[in-house]
Subunit: 342 residues, 2 copies
């Protein structure tokens, strides 16, 4: 699916998604192609009447950005499946469809995660044995190579699903983060095998038999301490953790900015506060991460992403294409299935 190195990667970007709409997504597209210096072309998917004026206002001549018309947008507040039926030409469906048709190498959106997941599962399909796409990635800025899986797609999980998440995380860690032999841990309440809830205690022997580089249970304070490269939990725990950490980024940023008043200039205080915010809002900072388990490159970002975050999401998508992550994820899952088949 990936073009030859001479050709730019074609990244479809949902111009309608995100809290700030076309003014921000178009700015993100401009930033992305400018930074990529010819390596990336952006296919902006959106309502022409909303996107075209922004493009004319913001995009200089000759930038590799092209408008792909769509109709409407699916909101976070809508039921994904109903919305997909009601708005068959919505930007998320058009964008995912372009990946399916081979017109785009990847699709990037800051819009509804649920709708993008549903559209992706429907049009691109899931890797064998997976029920739904998984979300994961680094969540603490000073532990950039520690990946937490899963972050909120799979709420009630069977123990065996945790092993699947681990395999996906391992492929991502190795391929995308270039960690040689990713260590896998189960997020729990104590190091000993006997510590944990029913789910993690049942998962423990499955991890031992998985052939993955399993290092046992890890605890909350280990997340930032590099004790494992891939830390696995169900989406209920992961989503609560992710949002707690994001909220702390917000609260601590304000606290530190105020605490520094009188010690450093207001500008410096704000900058340090902002750094703290970014450190704990990695999804927003990175502009999002891949939908794991989908047979195609789809990146879902934070609704609150700025143009800079959107540009980073496009860059993430380009790197997914360059590293061939999708194939690596499938290989890892297949290898896991082969090792654990009885």
């Amino acid at each position: 699916m990936t073009n030859s190195p001479a050709q730019p990667l074609r990244i479809a970007l949902d111009a309608m998604g995100g809290d700030y709409g076309p003014p921000e997504t178009v700015a993100g597209a401009v930033a992305a192609v400018t930074e990529a210096r010819g390596r990336v072309a952006v296919l902006l998917v959106g309502d022409p009447e909303a996107v075209q004026p922004e493009l004319e206002r913001q995009a200089g001549q000759g930038l590799p950005i092209k408008l792909i018309p769509s109709e409407g947008v699916i909101l976070d507040s809508e039921s994904p499946m109903q919305a997909l039926r009601a708005k068959p030409k919505a930007s998320a469906l058009v964008g995912v469809g372009m990946v399916k048709e081979g017109i785009a190498d990847a699709f990037v959106t800051m819009g509804s995660t649920g709708a993008t997941m549903a559209a992706s599962a429907l049009l691109l399909g899931m890797m064998e044995g997976l029920e739904r796409p998984a979300l994961g990635g680094p969540i603490i800025g000073y532990a950039p190579n520690t990946v937490l899986m899963e972050l909120g797609s799979s709420i009630d999980c069977r123990p065996s699903q945790l092993v699947d998440f681990a395999a996906l995380g391992v492929a991502f860690s190795r391929t995308y983060l270039e960690v040689a032999e990713p260590r896998v841990g189960i997020l729990s309440v104590g190091e000993e095998e006997s510590k944990g809830n029913r789910q993690t205690r049942e998962a423990f022997p499955l991890f031992q038999a998985s052939g993955l580089n399993f290092v046992g249970n890890v605890e909350g304070h280990d997340l930032g301490a590099g004790k494992a490269d891939v830390v696995v939990c169900d989406g209920f725990v992961g989503n609560i953790l992710l949002k707690t950490i994001e909220g702390l980024g917000d609260g601590l940023s304000k606290y530190v900015t105020e605490r520094l008043s009188g010690h450093v200039s207001g500008e410096d205080a704000a900058a340090i506060g902002r750094d703290l915010y970014d450190l704990l809002n990695r999804t927003e900072y990175n502009g999002g991460g891949p939908l794991f388990g989908i047979k195609g490159n789809v990146v879902v970002g934070h609704g609150r992403s700025s143009a800079a975050g959107i540009a980073r999401a496009v860059s993430t998508a380009a790197r997914l294409c360059d590293t061939g992550l999708i194939g690596k994820l499938e290989d890892e899952l297949n290898a896991l299935r082969a090792r654990t088949a009885s």
Copy 2:
């Protein structure tokens, strides 16, 4: 059980518990009675040969501190029930026994939480309908009135147990934190009733029918935002959250101290880093919290507590006695049972 106001409260303190042992616990006792100005007497429970020399070294004449001999200490690494049998005169058992006998108004320890729980449940008994003691308290320093229940004692919970935790948290919030009408929320992955795992979705209608001031689901970022006064989760989620936040306190403290180098003096940088640490290590800072559900005042603190933290734990125990929390917890549980009896 509480003495008349003229008499000092008699707080038994485990001199053997905590990571730093008698040198630190004795210093904590000295700080506690000094700050309490006659309101508190400390009964130091420990091996005389280890505690007496520290007392002689640290405690001035006439301080209301008395040594109560015990033999041995139960370590975190031991199985609580086995250790209680093997060491019947260990400090935790002697201390809890003093509360049972009415010789002490409360017991405070920085030692093994598991052993203290087991000893307390055994000797003092559980409130009706509860299976084991619950842990809870504020966990984010800038949201000092937001109580998270439960923090790691009850790992796999039935939905109805979450309602019990809420009632305990409400009584604590009203009595100890002086919140007039504590709002109760279920920690989940979305505000809507339909969002959550099986446990929280089944708990939702129980909360609606509980007569508590239930405000619905709250999310991770709401923990620091004051959206509810009592936030409920099972001990698996709560323990992971608590330890993650504590770990962030450690990591961010180091990050900010380094980040400030060159901007402020090394002293100021360290002080600001320390503030950040304290903000996210509330159990350690507060020196611990009550064992909820035990029919007696028992405070369990962080093993890492300093003398200042230990003194705060003694002060917490004194406040538990003064506010009559135990009775209020039982009243709240009984009222809940009466409202929900069918």
